[in-house]
C-alpha cells in the first residue's frame, strides 16, 4: 500500500498470556511516523504488557504480529525475528522506563550507562563515544561532571534524564515511554514532558506514551488507545476520545479525574456500568432471534406476543413486522429483507407484510417448526428443525430434529441429524467450524465444515452443567458467547472449549445474544419471562464487550417468485 510509508508500526492481533491469565487480548493498531500515541488504562489493563510486547522485552503469544518500518531495511516483522536478529533493529527503537531508580544499573557510572548502547553496536572509538555521551548530556540538560558519578547521586528527575539519554544515543525513531513521568513530582514532571516534546521536534521521534494520567496523555499525544482488562476498548484522536467518549469504560475513567478547577465538580460514574449489562427495553414475553442491522439497529422478535421490533442505540423501539408469533430465529437477507424461522422458514422484505416460503414444515419427519438460524460466508442459511417443541406444546413425544442448509439456489438438504432441541448457530472466524447448541442435551456441538457447506460428523465442544445453552454468537477472536437459559447470563467460551467469563443478567431466562453497535462491540442479550403465559418480563440488555463480534454475511439465498 502506498500510505504505508507514513507508518512506522503496524500491530495486528497482539496477545499475551501469562500462565492462564490473559494480560493482552487481540490488540491491533497503526502508528504514524513522528506521531505520539498514548496508551491509557488502570493497573492491570495491559498497557505495560503491550509496550513490552512491541519492543519484544517479552515475547507475545504466537499469532499476533508487530511490523516495524525500519530505516535500514524497510518493513520487518518484529514479532517473528529471533532475539539476536533483533539486535541491529534495537538502534531504531528504544524504551524509557517508569522507575528512575531500578532502571539504571546502580554499579555503573553515568558515562558507562549512556555509552553502553554505542559499545554494543560498535559505534565509534572511545573518544568519539565520549564526545557523543557529552552531547547527550547537553541534550538532556545534565551537567558534564555527571559523567563519573553513579545513579545514586541523582534525583528522580535527573535519573529519568539519564534514562532518556541512554535511549536516544543511538538515534532511534521509535521511543516507548512506559509511565516515564508517573513517579515524578509535578514540577519535575513538567520539565521531563517539555524535554520529551522538544526532543521529538528536533529528532523527529515517534512516541508510544504509556501512562495512567489522562491529563498528561492529552497534553502530549495526538492519538490514544484506552485499555481495559487487556483489551483496547476505545481509540482515536485524543481530543475526540476524551471529549466524546463512546465506551462506558472510557466514560468511567474520564469522569473519575478530579479537575484542578474547584468550580468544576467531579461527578464520577458508578463502576457498575462496567460490570452489569444495561437494560435497553423491557415488557415483552419471550424475546428471541436478535440480529444486528446497520440501519435499523437491533432486530428482535417476541415469540409469545408476536411481532418483530427494532431498537436503536438511543433505545427507541420501532415495530418492523406485527402480529406474527413464534419467530425463533432471524437473519438479514441481502435483498433488503430478512429470513425468519418459526413453523417454517420464510423471507420477508422490509416494509412489506408478505412472507415468501423458503423451507416448509415437514410434518412427516416429526417436524413442528424451526429454531435459530445463521448464515455462512457465502450467504447460505443453516437452520435447525425441532423434533417436537417445548414452545408449541403439541402433545407429541420429544423427538430429534435435523439441521438443514438452504443453498444459494434455494434448495435445501439435511446436513446433520439427531438434534434434541436445536438452538444457537454460529461459524468460527475462519468459517471452517460451525457451533450449534442443543438445549435439551445441554451441549454445544462442533462441526467441521466441508465442501459445499456439508458438515462432517459432530463432536461435543462444551457441556453445560447448569442451565441450557440457547442462542449463541461468535466474536472476532474466536470466542463463543452462549446465552444460557436458566443460568441467567452469557457464558464466554474459548475456542478450546474452556469458559473464561460469565456475564449475568437480572433474570434467569437468557435466550439469545448477538453483537451490534459500531464496530460490533456491543453485546445484545435478550431474555424471556420464564414462559409464563401473560408475563411481560422479557427484554433486551446490552453490554460493552471487550472484543468485536464477527460480522454476519447477509443471506444470499435465491428468493422464489411469490
Amino acid at each position: 500500500m502506498s500510505n504505508d510509508d507514513d507508518l512506522i508500526l503496524k500491530v495486528r492481533h497482539l496477545s499475551k498470556t501469562f500462565d492462564k491469565h490473559v494480560a493482552l487480548r487481540d490488540v491491533s493498531f497503526d502508528l504514524k511516523r513522528a506521531d505520539t500515541l498514548g496508551v491509557v488504562g488502570e493497573s492491570g489493563s495491559g498497557k505495560t504488557t503491550l509496550a513490552r510486547c512491541i519492543l519484544r522485552a517479552i515475547d507475545p503469544d504466537v499469532g499476533g504480529t508487530v511490523e516495524f518500518n525500519s530505516e535500514q531495511i524497510g518493513w520487518v516483522s518484529l514479532s517473528s525475528l529471533r532475539h539476536n536478529e533483533l539486535v541491529p533493529l534495537r538502534k531504531e527503537m528504544q524504551m524509557v522506563f517508569q522507575d528512575p531508580y531500578s532502571s539504571l544499573n546502580p554499579r555503573m557510572t553515568v558515562r558507562q550507562i549512556i555509552e553502553e548502547p554505542l559499545i554494543i553496536h560498535h559505534e565509534g572509538n572511545s573518544n568519539e563515544r565520549l564526545e557523543r555521551v557529552r552531547e547527550m548530556l547537553d541534550l538532556v540538560q545534565l551537567s558534564q561532571d555527571s559523567l563519573t558519578r553513579y545513579p545514586h547521586a541523582f534525583s528522580g528527575g535527573q535519573r529519568q534524564r539519564i534514562g532518556i539519554a541512554r535511549a536516544l544515543i543511538l538515534n532511534p525513531n521509535l521511543v516507548v515511554c512506559d509511565e516515564t513521568v508517573s513517579a515524578l513530582d509535578v514540577s519535575v514532571q513538567a520539565q521531563i514532558i517539555n524535554l520529551l516534546e522538544d526532543l521529538q521536534k528536533t529528532l523527529h521521534l515517534t512516541y508510544i506514551f504509556v501512562a495512567h494520567d489522562l491529563a498528561v496523555v492529552r497534553h502530549i499525544c495526538n492519538n490514544v488507545l484506552v485499555m481495559h482488562n487487556g483489551v483496547v476498548v476505545e481509540r482515536g484522536d485524543v481530543d475526540h476520545v476524551f471529549d466524546h467518549p463512546q465506551r462506558n469504560y472510557t466514560k468511567l475513567l474520564l469522569s473519575a479525574i478530579p479537575s484542578p478547577d474547584p468550580d468544576i465538580r467531579m461527578d464520577p460514574k458508578n463502576r457498575d456500568i462496567l460490570e452489569q449489562p444495561e437494560p435497553v427495553v423491557n415488557g415483552y414475553g419471550l424475546v428471541e432471534g436478535p440480529v444486528w442491522h446497520g440501519d435499523h439497529g437491533l432486530l428482535f422478535s417476541d415469540v409469545i406476543f408476536g411481532g418483530v421490533y427494532a431498537v436503536n442505540e438511543s433505545k427507541e423501539v420501532n415495530p418492523v413486522f406485527e402480529h406474527r408469533r413464534g419467530i425463533g430465529g432471524m437473519a438479514i437477507h441481502a435483498e433488503d429483507g430478512m429470513v425468519v424461522s418459526g413453523k417454517n422458514v420464510s423471507f420477508k422484505r422490509f416494509g412489506e407484510s408478505e412472507s415468501i416460503l423458503l423451507l416448509d414444515r415437514d410434518p412427516d419427519n416429526g417436524n413442528v417448526g424451526y429454531n435459530d438460524l445463521t448464515t455462512d460466508a457465502a450467504g447460505r442459511i443453516y437452520v435447525g428443525s425441532l423434533g417436537s417443541s417445548p414452545v408449541f406444546d403439541d402433545g407429541l413425544e420429544p423427538r430429534a430434529g435435523n439441521l438443514y442448509v438452504i443453498d444459494l439456489d434455494g434448495k435445501s438438504r439435511v446436513v446433520a441429524e439427531d438434534v434434541q432441541l436445536t438452538n444457537g448457530l454460529g461459524f468460527s472466524p475462519n468459517g471452517r467450524t460451525l457451533y450449534h447448541s442443543d438445549s435439551r442435551r445441554g451441549q454445544i456441538y462442533r462441526y467441521e465444515v466441508g465442501r459445499n457447506g456439508d458438515l462432517k460428523p459432530r463432536e461435543v465442544f462444551h457441556e453445560f452443567e447448569t442451565g441450557a445453552p440457547d442462542g449463541l454468537a461468535v466474536a472476532e477472536d474466536g470466542s463463543i458467547w452462549v446465552a444460557n437459559a436458566g443460568a441467567g447470563g452469557v457464558a464466554v467460551l474459548e475456542p478450546d472449549g474452556s469458559q473464561h467469563a460469565f456475564i449475568s443478567i437480572p433474570v434467569p431466562m437468557c435466550t439469545s445474544v448477538c453483537f451490534g453497535g459500531s464496530g460490533l462491540r456491543t453485546l445484545y442479550i435478550v431474555s424471556g419471562s420464564n414462559g409464563v403465559e401473560g408475563d411481560r418480563n422479557g427484554g433486551v440488555y446490552r453490554y460493552e464487550a471487550d472484543v468485536s463480534g464477527l460480522p454476519l454475511t447477509p443471506a444470499r439465498v435465491q428468493i422464489p417468485a411469490p
Binding site: 513490552r52 519492543l55 522485552a57 539476536n84 533483533l86 539486535v87 541491529p88 534495537r90 538502534k91 528504544q94 524504551m95 522506563f97 517508569q98 522507575d99 531508580y101 531500578s102 532502571s103 539504571l104 544499573n105 546502580p106 554499579r107 557510572t109 553502553e116 548502547p117 554494543i120 553496536h121 552531547e135 547537553d138 541534550l139 540538560q141 551537567s143 558519578r149 553513579y150 545514586h152 547521586a153 541523582f154 534525583s155 528527575g157 535527573q158 534514562g163 541512554r166 543511538l170 514540577s187 519535575v188 520539565q191 517539555n194 524535554l195 522538544d198 526532543l199 521536534k201 528536533t202
Partner: protein
C-alpha cells in the same frame, strides 16, 4: 540541537544526599556501610590474623606437631611473666620451667613451677627445623623459650598426654580447619551457583527438579549422613585424600541454601528494569549475565557464602571429634579435641579443650563478618536511613 530550549538547571530541587556521598562509587559506599559495623570490622581483622597465622603455622608455632616434650606430659599452661616471684623485673618475658611430682594417692602427674628454671622468650630465633608448606626448609620461629644453656620449653596452652605442645598443634590444626572452611565453601559456592543459576535461568522442569532436590537435601539430618559418608572413606587412604574427601562430603549437603538464594536473585534480577533496559539496547545474553546481573548478585552470594563457612568448620570439628573425619597425623581442631571424650580426662587436663575456644572465635567472627557484609551489600541501602 539549538532548537531545544534549555530549562533553568534544576538547581532549585535539592539533591537528596549530601554532596560528598554523591561522589562515592558503589564500592566505596558499601565500604562506608561496612565500616559502620564496628564488630564486623573487628571480626574481619581477627579472621585475617587467624588465616595468616595458620598459613605460616611453621613460623608462628614454636614446635612442630609431632615434637614431644617427655619432661612435660599432660603439663598445664604456662604463664608468661615479666616479674620473678621475688619481684625482679625482666625486660624480656620469660616462663618458669616445671618440676614433676607424682601424687602418691592418685598416681596423677602434678607440675609445679620451678623459680630456678627461668626460660626467657626469644623472638625470631632458631628452633626446630621445619619445611614451610613442604617446600622451604627453615628453623626460624616467631618465638621460642631458651636459656643461656640452650635449655627450655614453652607450652603456652599446656601439653597433651604425649607431651606435645597444645599451642603449636592449635596453630597447625587451624590450618586444616580454616582451610576446610574456605575450600568447602568454594565447592559449595560452585555447586550453589551452578544449580541455583541453572534453576533460575532455565526455569521450567530443570527448576522444578533442582527445587525438589533442595527440598529433599534440606530435610535430611546432616550429621548422621555425614557420618555415614565419612565412615565410608577407605581406611587406607592417605591423610591428604581423607582431607579432600571430608571437604567434599561437607559441601555436598551445604549448597542448598546458596542455590536457593542464587535462584531467587536470578529470578528477581531477570525482571529488574535495568536488566530489561540492557536487553532493549541490544546487549547479548552474556553481557546481560556477566555485566549486569553478576555484579549485583555476587555481593549477595559472597555474603551467604561467608555465613555458610561456620557450618563447614563445625561439621569438620564434629566429625573429627568422633574419629571419622580428619585422621592423625594431620591435626585439625576437631582431631585435637578427640582426646577429650570423657570428663575424667577433661578434669585432669582441661587445657586440651583450648582448640574449642578457637573454633568458637573463628565461627563467631565469620557470623559477625557475614552480618556486616549483608548490611553493606545492598546497593539501594544508601546514606544513613
Amino acid at each position: 540541537m539549538s532548537e531545544v530550549v534549555l530549562e533553568q538547571p534544576p538547581k532549585a530541587i535539592p539533591l537528596e544526599t549530601p554532596e560528598e556521598l554523591n561522589l562515592l562509587t558503589p564500592r566505596q559506599l558499601a565500604w562506608r556501610r561496612f565500616k559502620r559495623h564496628r564488630l564486623a570490622l573487628i571480626s574481619g581483622v581477627i579472621l585475617v590474623i587467624m588465616y595468616l597465622v595458620a598459613g605460616f603455622a611453621e613460623f608462628f608455632a614454636p614446635y612442630v606437631t609431632t615434637s614431644r616434650n617427655v619432661s612435660a606430659i599432660n603439663a598445664p599452661p604456662m604463664d608468661v611473666r615479666f616479674f620473678e616471684h621475688d619481684g625482679t623485673f625482666h625486660i624480656r618475658p620469660f616462663v618458669y620451667g616445671y618440676d614433676l611430682h607424682i601424687n602418691e594417692h592418685t598416681w596423677a602427674r602434678e607440675y609445679t613451677e620451678n623459680p630456678e628454671k627461668i626460660y626467657p622468650l626469644r623472638f625470631f630465633a632458631r628452633g626446630e627445623t621445619y619445611e614451610l608448606w613442604n617446600l622451604f626448609e627453615g628453623d626460624i620461629h616467631l618465638f621460642i623459650a631458651e636459656n643461656e644453656e640452650g635449655e627450655g620449653y614453652i607450652h603456652f596452652l599446656g601439653t597433651d598426654q604425649l607431651g606435645r605442645d597444645v599451642f603449636s598443634r592449635v596453630i597447625y590444626g587451624g590450618r586444616i580447619s580454616l582451610s576446610i572452611g574456605m575450600l568447602g565453601i568454594g565447592l559449595t559456592l560452585f555447586l550453589g551457583v551452578l544449580f541455583g543459576g541453572f534453576a533460575g535461568y532455565l526455569g521450567g522442569w530443570v527448576d522444578r527438579i533442582v527445587q525438589r532436590m533442595i527440598e529433599v537435601l534440606q530435610s535430611l539430618p546432616t550429621l548422621p549422613l555425614w557420618m555415614a559418608l565419612t565412615a565410608a572413606l577407605p581406611a587406607h587412604w592417605s591423610s591428604l585424600r581423607i582431607y579432600f574427601g571430608v571437604t567434599i562430603i561437607l559441601s555436598l549437603f551445604g549448597w542448598t541454601a546458596l542455590a536457593r538464594q542464587v535462584r531467587g536473585r536470578f529470578l528477581a534480577l531477570r525482571n529488574e528494569d535495568f536488566v530489561i533496559a540492557a536487553r532493549l539496547i541490544g546487549s547479548g545474553q552474556n553481557r546481560i549475565i556477566f555485566k549486569h546481573m553478576m555484579p549485583s548478585f555476587l555481593s549477595h552470594t559472597i555474603t551467604t557464602a561467608t555465613l555458610a563457612v561456620p557450618g563447614v568448620i563445625l561439621g569438620e570439628t564434629a566429625l573429627s571429634f568422633l574419629g571419622i573425619g580428619i585422621r592423625p597425623p594431620i591435626v585439625s581442631w576437631g582431631v585435637l579435641m578427640e582426646q577429650a571424650q570423657n570428663y575424667q580426662v577433661i578434669s585432669m587436663t582441661p587445657w586440651i579443650l583450648y582448640p574449642g575456644l578457637f573454633v568458637v572465635i573463628a565461627v563467631m567472627a565469620f557470623n559477625v563478618l557475614g552480618d556486616g557484609l549483608r548490611d553493606a551489600a545492598d546497593p539501594y541501602n544508601m546514606g544513613g536511613q
